[in-house]
Symmetry: C2
């Protein structure tokens, strides 16, 4: 496919590279950040412009890969009847693109994309469209760069977004608080990394409810008490320790 | 080394196999669970007994790999002066072994060990001893089966145990609640697994505080509000969503 990318951040960069590698042509980059636009255009051997009014109009597909709260503004300045236009946001309705073209949809990467990493994570893609032909075209494109593609409407995408926040963002915050604790207590956080990674990796084989360990699921209040004493100087951590432990004992009916 | 394993659960099994593969001899298994003892003895080509009074007394090292609350009882029925005795518990003092022998210590695997998995996770080992010669012997043994070995005294081990609970047990509980939510909302949890794993894997390269994403760190209260509405039927999840989001905004001073 012949593609125009609107945006030059992490999502635009990672999707752009994947699409280029899969054999698609990136015709042009549109981005208000001139430096980023030119850098990405160089990598993808594409044209670039900072003005959406100068957008190349002969592509098959336009991908709006900008911040959630900027999609509306881009949509309002874009009119490409007959072409396919998608946005890449989890929490934005596809219908924000209703007046842009008659063929629109969503290509939402359910992954944390960072342009600076060298390895390639698996990128699950949630897709949607306002009509079956366009959905099919988006699906073919998605499958050319990912082995995990699923159709999800606005409501399902929003629910998966909530789920992603709970499972990934919130875990990451627990890692952050733990790094902070280890650093202040002068104990080696890096010794915990294999356990943290194993906990995530075994999701491939086990349901997490069957692999829960730790004092809360054992109803081991002696250890919980010892732990809370150690956290006396960490009110934020102590409060989360209590609420998550309570959630565990409630969940398993201890 | 010539080794006796006391216990036949996950820790005894995984450590036993690793030690055997590294060229050590497992002389005998002692475990009250006759079936497990015999099964592990078969795998490790070792003798087995269910009675600690019949323990083989000519080994170099005795590893007590039983539940935290059973270490004391084993220690009281064991007297092997001159040999090295270690336990494998994060939250138990090494001095519980004081009367067992003059050379004792700890070999604590900071990993979730499961006998049924086929792949081998990295097993960080925290070691300790009451004297330098024994610590050195334990270190050599630990390094023969793991590339991640660190010395940690009782207090440091307990702190790392708290840290492990926060970073791994609690994350696993978030995964559990998320699986439950996805299943009740009929959305595909498996689409989230790459993101969850990427969040853990990138700890190799980034500090988690620098990779935090999601509505809370952006101060995006509109999205938080949308999410809380979606969680109206999940009081447990809603309450954790609120307390962790608050912790994130507090941490970053939003």
């Amino acid at each position: 496919m012949n593609i125009v990318l609107i945006g030059s951040g992490n999502v635009a960069t990672v999707l752009g590279k994947s699409l280029k590698e899969a054999g698609h042509n990136i015709a042009a980059i549109v981005s208000r950040n001139k430096e980023h636009a030119m850098e990405l255009a160089r990598i993808l051997q594409a044209d670039s412009t900072t003005d959406i009014k100068h957008i190349y109009t002969d592509a098959d597909l336009y991908i709006i890969a900008v911040a959630d709260n900027a999609v509306k503004e881009v949509a309002e300045s874009l009119h490409i009847q007959g072409k396919i236009v998608v946005h890449t946001s989890g929490a934005v309705s596809k219908d924000i693109l209703r007046n842009v073209t008659k063929n629109y949809g969503v290509l939402y990467p359910l992954q944390s994309l960072r342009k600076e990493i060298n390895y390639k994570p698996v990128i699950p893609l949630l897709i949607d469209s306002n009509n079956p032909e366009t959905l099919n075209a988006i699906r073919l494109l998605a499958e050319s760069i990912s082995s995990k593609v699923a159709v999800a409407n606005d409501e399902q995408r929003l629910k998966l977004h909530v789920a992603a926040v709970m499972a990934a963002n919130f875990s990451n915050h627990l890692y952050t608080l733990t790094v902070d604790y280890c650093s202040r207590e002068n104990i080696p956080f890096y010794m915990l990394i294999p356990l943290i990674q194993e906990t995530a990796i075994r999701l491939n084989e086990f349901a997490p409810k069957d692999t829960q360990t730790g004092p809360a699921i054992r109803g081991d209040y002696t250890t919980i008490q010892k732990h809370l004493e150690l956290l006396a100087d960490y009110p934020q951590l102590k409060s989360l320790y209590e609420s998550i432990s309570k959630s565990i004992t409630d969940f398993y009916g201890k």
